[in-house]
């Protein structure tokens, strides 16, 4: 991708342990402003752990992590401000079930950003339009399909006017017929210039939007390359095997 734009996420020699278990091993990575990075790798390879470090849902044990100029660590006073800049979309949607769709979108801007109701509602409706479900505003999450819920979750992050969006297997919990409606929204988001780090095995999506492909295994980054190299001629054998496996289906 554009070597010209500034780095927005910088990861250097990052290590993460769960007790004795070494979950991330000496990870080095840079994401630039506007870059779309797709991370794949076998289950348990540390993909979630890595992106959860990016918004402070997990803390690394050593190494450096700088996001948007802010040094991320457990004692950082800037973490709450940073989380407002970094949105996260989860595999299980994690919408607030006791709030309507509109309230789900408004609660962050109102309580965290201290916006007025009118402004928060205008923003919420704007992003609900963007994810193509303006008519669902007054429903509760449980009344929506999985695909609709995930689009609401994306809108909820966008309402915070985030500068970076993290996706942790956003389509893995969806019925097959709903995957595309979510991916379409993500493609549109990519085209709008958002910086995105996406953990997914949807290789069609990756081919379409990724600037950089990352392959992880056993807590290590094994391969970082542009998609054309990644899919046709990956430098590591393990990556090749993994791609063969998932592309067969």
């Amino acid at each position: 991708m554009t070597g010209a734009s500034a780095p927005i996420i910088e990861v250097a020699n990052l290590d993460k342990f769960y007790g004795d278990f070494h979950a991330l091993k000496d990870v080095n990575l840079t994401v630039h402003q506007g870059e779309k990075m797709v991370i794949c790798g076998p289950s348990g390879s540390g993909k979630s752990t890595l992106i959860r470090c990016f918004n402070g849902l997990e803390w690394h044990n050593s190494g450096r992590l700088v996001i948007d100029g802010v040094e991320v660590h457990e004692q950082s006073k800037d973490m709450r401000r940073l989380r407002q800049e970094v949105g996260m979309v989860f595999q299980q949607f994690n919408l607030f079930p006791h709030l309507t769709v509109l309230e789900n979108l408004m609660i962050g801007p109102m309580k965290v950003r201290r916006q007025g109701r009118a402004q928060a509602e205008a923003t919420a409706r704007k992003y609900l339009d963007r994810v193509h479900i303006p008519e669902q505003a007054d429903k509760y999450p449980a009344q929506l399909s999985g695909g609709q819920q995930q689009r609401v979750a994306i809108a909820r992050s966008l309402c915070m006017e985030t500068r970076i969006m993290l996706f942790d297997e956003p389509t893995s919990a969806l019925d097959p017929e709903m995957i595309n409606e979510v991916l379409d929204v993500m493609v549109e988001l990519a085209q709008s210039g958002m910086t995105m780090v996406v953990v997914t095995h949807e290789m069609g999506f990756a081919r379409k939007v990724a600037d950089t492909m990352v392959f992880m295994e056993a807590g290590e980054i094994v391969e970082v390359s542009p998609p054309d190299t990644f899919f046709t001629n990956p430098s590591s054998e393990r990556c090749r095997l993994f791609l063969d496996q998932i592309l067969e289906h």
Binding site: L57, F96, I107, A142
Partner: protein, 280 residues
């Protein structure tokens, strides 16, 4: 609100219970058994009392519930006793809820000190009999801190029940999925905001039934404050008896009044629960 995921529990149909148990479990039979047992108890106690030569005077009881004087309709002593009990219990319950929430939050704070303090408090309360706690508040803490018997009663009930209520809060808070915390954090909410706007509103659903049970429990245990002569339902019952010697009638009446109040509470809350469940 999303229903708990029971998909894994489908499949096997429940085995039928044996015919005899099903017969005993049916509503009609339950009611019949209940009526028979109650009739036996009442018959037994009445004939027993008769044999003791007890002089039943039920006609003198209604005046303690209500009366018509030249000023018109008036409520009787027992009803005022009930009002006092309700006021006492409501105040104690409100305090117990606040205290219980604080103890639960302290316990869940993840701070070593917080956990230690809350566990110490729970163990202390759990291992002191309610009556002893009441004496402690009335005879020891009351004079030291200068509160009267009424506040000694309220504080005793509040502290005693806050221990149980804190466990209800803890269970209710833990019943909310971890993903809710993560979602709230990832839009930048503080811990306080997450509790207030995301976690507690969802815990209410889990807490309503056990909290009702606790309220009923508190109303019943409030009778104990009659030992330090705080004017409430049980104390007033006792006073009436010492004036009239109608101990059987008055105790039956007082018991019935407690039952009516706690039953209304239970029924009211289960109605609320259904309303609340339908809402989402």
């Amino acid at each position: 609100m999303s229903a708990p995921d029971l998909s894994g529990l489908k499949g096997q149909p429940l085995p039928q219970r044996p015919a005899f148990q099903r017969f005993l479990g049916s509503t009609a039979v339950s009611i019949a058994i209940y009526v028979a047992v109650m009739a036996l108890i009442i018959y037994g106690s009445f004939t027993g009392a008769q044999n003791m030569g007890y002089n039943w005077q039920w006609h003198r009881v209604p005046q303690f519930l209500y009366s018509f004087t030249e000023d018109g309709f008036e409520l009787g002593e027992i009803v005022y006793g009930l009002f006092a009990t309700i006021q006492l219990s409501a105040t104690a319950f409100a305090l117990a809820t606040v205290l219980g929430l604080l103890v639960a939050l302290l316990r869940l704070s993840g701070l070593v000190m917080g956990t230690a303090v809350s566990i110490g408090f729970l163990e202390l309360i759990r291992n002191i009999p309610l009556l002893v706690l009441l004496y402690l508040f009335y005879y020891v803490l009351g004079p030291i801190f200068g509160f009267d018997r009424y506040w000694a009663s309220i504080l005793t009930l509040a502290v005693f029940h806050s221990a149980l209520i804190s466990e209800i809060f803890r269970a209710g808070i833990n019943a909310v999925p971890k993903g809710q915390w993560e979602a709230a954090k990832s839009i930048g909410m503080s811990t306080g905001q997450t509790y207030r706007y995301i976690i507690l509103p969802q815990s209410v659903r889990f807490m309503l039934p056990p909290m009702t049970g606790e309220a009923v429990h508190l109303i019943k245990s409030s009778a104990i404050v009659s030992v330090i002569a705080v004017a409430e339902l049980t104390t007033i019952g006792r006073n009436i008896i010492s004036d009239t010697f109608m101990s059987f009638e008055i105790w039956f009446t007082v018991a019935a009044v407690y039952m009516v109040v706690t039953l209304i509470l239970s029924v009211g809350v289960s109605y609320l629960e259904r309303r609340y469940a339908v809402d989402q």
